[in-house]
Assembly symmetry: C2
Homo-oligomer: 251 residues x 2
């Protein structure tokens, strides 16, 4: 019996992974790359609106987002929903299930997405033999922690204008790092109700503040097209600190 082809047609082998081509992402050593090609068990495609992981659920896989956008959220029993973060290409999804056997938040696709599938069972050999990759996993968890800290400070302390400015600026900058911004323009696949659930405001109030923020002329955002016009000014309104620099790892 011939060995099954590791990467069937349509599945990108890791050495051709689109994330690797991006600026600012760490390069694998040859050994790490070989391991990752072994680690990756396939790809998952999901349509916009699909729930990829549910709070409380376990699951045999870890994912890296290869293309598209997702958001992470938590719901209270009565339906109130808090968006806790967004995910762009290169982001790791589902680490919590690997650590606690239960997700502490849910994950939903904002656009059609493709995910790199990494079976949880192999995370142990990763820790055993590739301390560099193990360190990267920790790094990614710490980065998530840092982002949540910023959002917590935003929802807890920033006023309405600052909040919206902060989120839009953050999304724009992250899109930039994921290579999605062309000529100052991105497709932001976010509805105003997502924004409202992110900043802890009602939809109506979010809309009104957004109107006001638009009048500053820092950006244009209509029909999912976001155009940045004055990033520095928007950062000033957001009272945002400098974004994290340097290379970042991914799996």
């Amino acid at each position: 019996m011939p060995p099954k082809p590791k990467f069937p047609p349509g599945v990108t082998p890791c050495d051709k992974c689109p994330i690797r081509k991006l600026e600012g992402f760490r390069r694998f050593t040859p050994e790490e790359l070989a391991f990752m090609m072994e680690f990756k068990s396939g790809e998952l495609a999901a349509e916009a609106g699909t729930t990829i992981l549910s709070e409380g659920s376990d699951g045999p896989h870890l994912y890296t987002l290869l293309s598209g956008w997702i958001f992470k959220y938590k719901t209270l029993e009565d339906g109130r929903r808090q968006v806790t973060n967004f995910g762009l290409p290169g982001d790791l999804i589902g680490l919590q299930a690997s650590m606690f056997d239960a997700m502490t938040h849910s994950v939903e696709a904002l656009t059609d997405v493709t995910l790199c599938v990494l079976p949880r069972a192999k995370i142990w050999p990763l820790y055993k033999n590739f301390e560099g990759l193990a360190f990267d996993v920790t790094w990614l968890a710490a980065r998530e922690e840092a982002m949540l800290t910023e959002y917590l400070a935003t929802v807890g302390q920033r006023n309405s204008m600052e909040r919206i400015a902060f989120v839009l600026l953050d999304l724009f900058r992250r899109a930039q790092r994921s290579g999605l911004v062309k000529k100052g323009e991105v497709t932001l696949p976010i509805a105003q109700h997502h924004l409202a659930d992110t900043i802890g405001f009602s939809l109506v109030h979010t809309n009104k503040v957004l109107q006001k923020l638009r009048r500053t002329g820092c950006f244009n955002w209509t029909n999912s097209k976001f155009v940045m016009r004055d990033e520095a000014k928007l950062a000033g309104i957001a009272m945002a600190s400098e974004p994290m620099e340097g290379v970042r790892p991914f799996l």
Copy 2:
């Protein structure tokens, strides 16, 4: 020259670490314990009110909190402050500096504290030779992420009564796991302004809502003495989900 005694008088050797004696904390293997005794470079005592780590700072150490309480916070340029989490015995402090060479939040002692000092330089050998401990570090980072997610949902979605109930319940339960609760009583070294900065309310409003919550009779909290009277009822008000169970690691 005789080898310097590894644990000078007054410093607790890891095999006598008070955290190890607590229920619900993972036990080290003999090899791990030996490594940790090597890893630990000393202890740090700090008075209440001391800033242990500052946002943006680097630092050569990681810490485990051995006794006392700390809180973590972030400030905006104009002084607004968001408390992002509290730390109790057994909690890891300063991981961000080890990952990013810069803390993304500050850490301050609420009480006199003692910290186990772990030099960052040895985190690499830890990852190289003790994958179990490396996994634990990741676990602790993921736990912090989970806690931040809960607090973000609290500040973003819960109303005033729910917010305060949630935080008090969380602190009580964590104190319990750290062995600080005796007969339903803990010393909560928290002032109302800490609570206010945690939930994103003004001090005045926090006080008024706290009055109202006291009248439910779920607890008594005066002069830093917190007495739980009806945890289930408080959990009901908080709209809290079940706390995380199972053994947890520590360093």
